[in-house]
């Protein structure tokens, strides 16, 4: 009896320590000891394992065969239910059977599973197709129905630099991002509220996402200081000391009125090491509760939590678990895209996407290079944002399938080809590299045209990712993409490693460098083919009985 008491006391103390403001009475503390409700979630150890061991080598053929009924599943309104793969008989991570109700009313297999809906959600996320970890989905938001994977251009101050709304629609932008920090300064969130929200103010008919303002503050302001209360900083307008608390950030975002709002997180650069990262991760979890409490519009604005934890897998897992416990409409993977090496970057993404729930969108913040987006999509992420396409346009750089094209370069002065002969955008159909060359960095029109093309490129990439997954040709798309970008076969090692974990065979794009292929000898590939085929028939990501 005494030992049980002592055990309880121990548990209570532990639970109390985790809380910033522990309740004074034991009665309030006891419920915290109860195990959380079952979630669609895998154990940390499992996810660590899954990121570090590669998939069984995929065959060269497409692994996914889609049932024709499922191809039409776009019309389905029933949300996808997934069964967690709890019993893991195979040493590698495998795919889970999925359940569809076709529009004809056929029920295809499966054990229905429902996550407890304890919070209202203003979004609907339906997976339309998969390849291993990659997924193509339909994300229904209050203002727009989007197809993922998708890229979100950044419209910092209520506009995407130089482009009008109808151009953005023509390009195919689905969601644009607004920066809370900038908008709160000018024109202020109160004015936006009076105007009926940012949608009304800028007359953007589609979806919008606002970040919490935290990142801008720590990156733009030298004197920003992060405390438990919030972020203290000096207002750049008048120098007054100001404080952005989680409550304040959510309030501002409530007034701005975007479809998706981000929790205020304690973000640290991945280049920092030490206890600061752990402190930031736990503080992010404490702040998410304050954000949830302060959120006044859960019925038409989705609050996304942000996974922090630096490059430490254990911290990341604790953070994921904590956020998933809160049953948020969607989750973001933050703290990346800040200068860390690519090898660490993809591992964190892989780990988080493996651990986050299947039926909710995953947003990798700040990821913008086309190559990074393809890799992250292969690993199971859905949403991306970055200033890269528009910023690089203003410096005269165009995005093309081969990489980048520096239009400022002298060689462009008499190049009469379009920027990208394969691109059907207005700029590539009408203008030559030579003409854009004489405009860039000198005239406003130059950056307008390049921004147009670069964003079109990103939207085209998003669309291609989505349709290639839905149509069952994702591996081929990835291979073509890599072959075009690395014609000599010098695919970076981190990409090779990531694609292995993602279960995509890119051997056809890689030159026979030892680093890329050291895991397989040629005879291994030959003899195991048949066995792999047999194994794989049981492990298709989409199983139709």
């Amino acid at each position: 009896m005494a030992s049980a008491e002592r055990q309880l006391e121990e548990q209570l103390r532990e639970a109390g320590n985790k809380l910033l403001d522990p309740p004074s009475s034991v009665d309030e503390l006891l419920p915290l000891l109860d195990p959380p409700p079952p979630q669609n979630f895998r154990s940390p150890l499992f996810t660590l394992q899954s990121t570090l061991t590669p998939f069984s080598s995929p065959s060269r053929h497409s692994l996914v065969r889609f049932h024709p009924v499922m191809r039409n599943s776009i019309a389905i309104a029933v949300p996808l239910r997934l069964r967690p793969n709890i019993s893991n008989t195979l040493p590698h991570h495998k795919f889970r059977p999925t359940c569809f109700h076709s529009h004809e009313g056929h029920t295809i297999s499966c054990v229905p599973y429902s996550a407890p809906q304890t919070k209202p959600m203003a979004l609907h996320f339906e997976i339309l197709g998969r390849f291993n970890r990659a997924r193509a989905a339909q994300l229904t938001l209050p203002h727009f129905v989007c197809q993922t994977p998708l890229f979100m251009p950044v419209g910092t101050q209520g506009t995407i630099k130089g482009l009008t709304n109808n151009e953005l629609e023509r390009i195919g932008c689905q969601i644009i991002l607004g920066n809370t920090y900038h908008l709160a300064l000018r024109p202020t969130s109160e004015l936006l509220e009076e105007a009926g929200g940012l949608h009304n103010f800028m007359n953007w008919p589609r979806a919008m996402l606002t970040d919490s303002g935290g990142f801008q503050m720590v990156s733009l302001l030298h004197l920003a200081d992060i405390t438990e209360e919030g972020v203290t900083f000096q207002s750049p307008v008048d120098g007054k000391p100001m404080l952005l608390t989680p409550e304040e950030s959510i309030q501002i975002q409530n007034r701005i009125g975007a479809d998706i709002i981000m929790a205020l997180d304690d973000v640290v650069k991945t280049t920092i090491t030490g206890p600061r990262i752990e402190e930031a991760m736990y503080r992010t979890l404490r702040w998410i509760d304050r954000c949830i409490a302060a959120h006044k519009r859960p019925h038409d604005q989705n609050l996304f939590g942000i996974v922090q934890g630096g490059l430490d897998p254990e911290l990341r897992d604790i953070c994921v678990k904590g956020l998933v416990d809160r049953n948020l409409p969607g989750y973001a993977i933050g703290g990346l895209a800040g200068g860390e090496d690519k090898d660490s970057f993809w591992r964190v993404v892989a780990q988080c996407t493996a651990a986050l729930p299947e039926d909710k969108p995953r947003y990798v913040m700040g990821v913008g290079y086309p190559l990074d987006i393809v890799v992250c999509s292969a690993l199971g992420a859905d949403m991306y944002d970055c200033v890269y396409p528009t910023r690089t346009a203003r410096f005269g750089t165009a995005l093309i399938p081969e990489g980048v094209l520096k239009l400022k370069h002298r060689a462009m002065a008499d190049d009469t080809r379009p920027i990208d002969p394969t691109c059907p955008c207005m700029v590539c159909k009408n203008y030559t590299r030579a003409y854009i060359h004489c405009l860039v960095t000198k005239d406003a029109m130059g950056s307008q045209l390049l921004s147009y093309h670069n964003l079109y490129y990103m939207m085209r990439l998003s669309r291609n990712l989505h349709t290639s997954i839905v149509e069952g040709r994702f591996p081929k798309f990835v291979c073509d993409f890599l072959q075009t970008m690395f014609p000599k076969g010098d695919v970076p090692e981190w990409v090779c490693n990531a694609m292995e974990v993602a279960g995509i065979d890119i051997s056809s794009c890689c030159a026979p460098f030892p680093s890329c292929q050291e895991k397989y000898s040629s005879d291994e590939i030959g003899t195991n083919d048949i066995h792999m085929e047999l194994r794989l028939t049981h492990t298709r990501s989409v199983v139709v009985y």
């Binding site: 009008t164 024109p187 002065a413 009408n430 405009l439 029109m445």
Partner: protein, 397 residues
């Protein structure tokens, strides 16, 4: 290019005409406005949004060949196939004029007998007829003005006379070097001297040109000196050929030019307004009456509003209630005010669209007045009521 006068008023030189240029979808009515461009495209209006402007009114562009000297060789332009191809504006009419009144300004001090001089963003350039013709033949505009030696109003008589001699000589050079010209418009200069203007006009009228480009204005002469000079020139020029001028930008100057018989105008007014954050709001009433629509607004007058003013911070109405331009149909004054405050380029784009649209409608109303025969009354009413309600107007150009 084909031009025909449809109606000419006897009371003044004003006339309505029809211009058929290149592959413009429909004939363009004159008097008409040529949109100012930078390297061939409008300063801020994206090619996607050009079609939203009234058509075919907005299909005429003025391009300065000198802009391309900054980074595009004539051989490359040739390879691409000319301006229309290069700019993706195959259905537009392009008039090539070296002077653009914004950034390529004639520098009379540096001109020599060999060529005209211009101050440009890439320095002071001496343009010889041969070089100019090479540019024109590569660019293939629909209309182009011959090379002129423009001088400001304050030069000596001798210098003025020299400018006329040089301009005539260069006109002959241009004609001989490129006889199969698109449509050459002979340049007429002469500063503020009535005799020189007359002499120049007489000489140019003798040459085989498709139209006339009347230069030398907007370079220091007074607005009151102009009518006499214009009349002197117009009396000599044949009626059936179009007249293009440079440097007459303000509405008052446009009306002055139309009254004298000018058909085509370039205008830097829109560009100046846009950069200053102004939006045109003057009335387009057929009678010419300028009712004071927004007299109680700070930072505005009845001709235009300054969207930088804090008064517009919360103004959720469009610039003009019944304007059909893209800006007024989609955005509010508050939004443009915000864009100006945060220095976003979209502000200039939206303003240029509105201002261009408004000015094109102004020309449309003028044409209507000429057709009705009420142009003089229109002009009178416009000028009188335009400055009525305020005293301290300062136009920043």
């Amino acid at each position: 290019m084909k031009f025909a006068v449809k109606k000419a008023l006897s009371s003044s030189g004003a006339r309505v005409g029809v211009l058929e240029v290149g592959s413009c979808p429909a004939p363009i009515e004159t008097p008409a406005l040529l949109l100012a461009t930078r390297k061939g495209l409008p300063h801020f209006i994206s090619p996607e949004l050009l079609p939203s402007l009234p058509s075919p009114d907005s299909n005429l562009l003025q391009v300065s060949p000198l802009h391309f000297l900054e980074g595009l060789s004539t051989t490359t332009i040739s390879k691409i196939g000319g301006l229309h191809q290069m700019l993706g504006l195959k259905q537009h009419g392009i008039a090539a004029v070296p002077r653009d009144s914004i950034q390529c300004l004639p520098e009379s001090k540096a001109a020599t007998r060999l060529g005209a001089s211009f101050e440009t963003p890439c320095g002071r350039l001496l343009i010889k007829p041969k070089d100019y013709i090479e540019m024109i033949s590569c660019m293939k505009p629909n209309i182009w003005a011959s090379l002129a030696d423009e001088v400001p109003a304050w030069v000596s008589e001798k210098r003025n006379k020299t400018s006329v001699d040089r301009t005539l000589r260069w006109l002959d050079d241009c004609i001989s070097l490129y006889p199969a010209a698109g449509s050459i418009f002979g340049a007429i200069v002469g500063g503020t001297s009535l005799e020189e203007r007359k002499r120049c006009a007489e000489e140019v009228a003798k040459r085989n040109v498709s139209g006339y480009w009347i230069g030398g204005f907007g370079l220091g002469e007074g607005i009151d000196e102009r009518p006499a000079l214009l009349r002197e020139v117009m009396d000599i020029l044949p009626d059936e050929k179009p007249r293009l001028t440079c440097g007459l930008g303000l509405p008052e100057e446009i009306l002055q030019g139309i009254a004298a018989g000018i058909d085509l105008f370039d205008s830097t007014y829109i560009y100046s307004l846009t950069l200053g954050g102004f939006a045109l709001t003057f009335s387009l009433d057929k009678s010419g009456e300028q009712h004071n629509l927004q007299s109680d607004q700070i930072g505005s007058d009845s001709t235009k509003i300054n969207l930088r003013a804090t008064a517009y911070r919360k103004d959720m109405s469009p610039i003009l209630e019944n304007c059909t331009c893209y800006t007024c149909q989609n955005h509010t004054k508050a939004y443009i005010n915000h864009l100006l405050n945060v220095h976003e380029m979209l502000a200039q784009t939206l303003l240029e669209i509105h201002n261009t649209h408004h000015y094109l409608r102004f020309f449309h109303v003028i044409r209507g007045a000429i057709q009705d025969g009420s142009f003089e009354e229109f002009r009178q009413a416009f000028l009188e009521s335009r400055r009525e309600h305020f005293k301290g107007e300062a136009i920043s150009t």
